[in-house]
């Protein structure tokens, strides 16, 4: 009895730490301590629970193994693949709730409320797991199946079927026994996993950050349901905090991309076919050599670097910083234009440039830099595409029309560093490449910039 009191007091402390942790994670100055507080809360909650576990060996081995796997992944992974990792970890959390609900089902003798909670938890947990795996696959470019393909349509159909089946499974306590078949729970277990695939597969890769945030919110809701099921208050508090704040974060992120959640989930970027015909004939692409690019840069008095996912892929952030410093020594004003959704996750570029020791005050947001864009001599676009696509401001018919962009097309000269002429993650043509003031510097971003750097050094 005494121990239960200790446990519950610890749960209250843990809950308070989670609340403070999330609150502090939302501000730059307090974010690190916020994460630490929430980790401390987790440590307290897990420790007081682990002591009472029926089979200590299972608990200790499970936690130790999970700790090793999780830590190795978290510390070994390259900064560029962090978005995928968040998706993967989130999927594992969802899988855990799925297994919890499954285990509770095997206890038998369920009340009506428990029955409903088990069905919902299995479904949400399963969707979170398989959905996160698909998001992981899309971000790491292992899965390229998109909207409209036969496979994707098939899975969407399964998703609808699974939702109907969930309704049936939830209602079984009130249905006549004649129509209930004995293995319906096994079917639900399978359908929940398939439903997650159908949920995420049709959504374009560019929208994955928002989808992962939504899946994160879902895994919180699943944990809260599991808490109701197990009558455990800390699970309910932590789960619903994550569920609700995750939902708000999802909305905030969607707004940064000028999209609504409904649009992302159910519409996606419209097929680019209707607009590409127009943009095709905008003029010719003008390639440039590094020698010529060097000459222009040497005489430029202000340069704006606009990085995108291409910089992350090429791991070019360090040479970019080096080039920036050389330009500054040459008397050029250098700024970095950071689009909030450049890369595969919000803040992706900030993380990379911070890793390369680029000073924080050199990073500017689109709203700060767009009004004075015409005073910029050279805008260097490094592996960014959709976030500098002028169609977003000029072509009402374009699928990305309305999305805030960095308006590099207004700069005097634009260098676009790109591997090929392929379109961006959103699959939309970019008329920027055909503009008269645009010069294309083809090739790997890292080697192109290294070449520029060595020209400056000579």
């Amino acid at each position: 009895m005494d121990f239960q009191i200790i446990q519950n007091v610890s749960y209250i402390i843990a809950s308070a730490l989670f609340i403070l942790g999330i609150k502090r994670l939302g501000k730059e100055s307090t974010a690190v301590s916020g994460n630490f507080m929430s980790a401390l809360g987790m440590f307290i909650a897990v420790s007081v629970t682990a002591i009472s576990f029926v089979d200590p060996l299972v608990a200790i081995v499970g936690i130790a193994l999970g700790a090793v796997i999780g830590s190795v992944i978290a510390l070994k992974v390259k900064m560029t693949s962090i978005p995928e990792m968040v998706a993967l970890f989130n999927g594992f959390g969802g899988l855990a709730t799925y297994l919890i609900a499954w285990s509770e089902f095997t206890n038998g003798n369920l009340g009506a409320a428990q029955h409903v909670l088990i069905m919902l938890t299995v479904f949400i947990g399963g969707v979170t797991f398989s959905g996160s795996l698909i998001a992981y696959g899309k971000l790491s470019e292992k899965i390229s199946i998109g909207k409209g393909s036969i496979i994707s349509n098939l899975f969407v159909f399964v998703l609808y079927a699974a939702v109907l089946f969930l309704g049936f499974a939830v209602a079984t306590p009130w249905l006549p026994e004649a129509i209930i078949f004995s293995n319906y729970f096994i079917f639900l277990l399978g359908l929940a996993l398939l439903a997650g695939i159908g949920f995420v597969l049709p959504i374009g890769g560019g929208d994955m950050p928002v989808v992962i945030s939504l899946l994160n919110s879902l895994s919180g809701i699943a944990a809260a349901f599991a808490g109701l099921l197990l009558l455990n208050n800390v699970l309910i508090v932590a789960g619903s905090l994550v569920g609700a704040s995750g939902l708000i974060l999802t909305v905030i992120m969607a707004k940064a991309m000028n999209r609504s959640i409904g649009n992302i989930l159910f519409v996606g970027y419209a097929s680019a076919a209707s607009t590409s015909a127009k943009t095709q004939e905008q003029g010719e692409v003008k390639p440039i050599t590094t020698d010529d690019a060097y000459l222009i840069l040497e005489n430029a008095s202000s340069v704006l670097v606009v990085p995108g996912y291409g910089m992350a892929v090429a791991q070019a952030q360090h040479v970019v910083r080096e080039l920036g410093e050389l330009l500054e020594n040459n008397g050029t004003e250098v700024k970095y234009g950071i689009h909030p959704v450049a890369g595969r996750m919000p803040g992706h570029m900030n993380v990379l440039l911070a890793e390369a020791n680029v000073s924080y005050d050199l990073l500017v947001e689109p709203d700060d830099v767009n009004p004075s864009m015409d005073t910029v001599d050279v805008a260097i676009v490094i592996g960014a595409n959709d976030v500098v696509n002028p169609s977003a401001t000029e072509e009402p018919g374009s699928p990305i029309y309305g999305m805030p962009i960095i308006e590099v097309h207004n700069a005097k000269t634009v260098f676009v560093l790109k591997r090929s002429m392929s379109s961006g993650f959103a699959g939309v043509e970019n008329p920027l490449f055909f503009r008269p003031n645009t010069r294309m510097l083809f090739g790997d971003a890292k080697s192109s910039i290294s070449a520029l750097v060595s020209e400056f050094k000579d």
């Binding site: 897990v46 990792m85 594992f92 992962i212 808490g227 932590a238």
Partner: protein, 92 residues
């Protein structure tokens, strides 16, 4: 049933609290915040630790749930910390 109602009360209040908790988040913190709250959803580990393990199937399910939730917890916090460390360099 009474316990369940009380817990439902907690659930509703926590949801409202969660909705109010974050409002204006700078875009640089979107990813760390997502990752950090993802680590909190690893609280499922507590749920996994109170599962019964009477049958072999239940033991396997409990073990797997503990394992995956632990990966979520440890990986989530460490990745978040790593990301935030990158930002804090600017203080120098």
């Amino acid at each position: 049933m009474e316990t369940l109602l009380l817990l439902g009360f907690i659930l509703v209040l926590s949801i409202f609290l969660g909705l109010e908790l974050i409002s204006k988040v700078p875009s640089t913190l979107h990813t760390p915040l997502m990752s950090g709250s993802n680590a909190i959803s690893g609280i499922a580990l507590v749920g996994a630790l109170v599962l019964s393990a009477d049958t072999q199937l239940q033991t396997i399910l409990a073990f797997a749930a503990i394992l995956f939730a632990s990966i979520n917890v440890f990986g989530g916090y460490l990745v978040t910390n790593r990301m935030l460390k990158m930002f804090s360099k600017k203080d120098k």
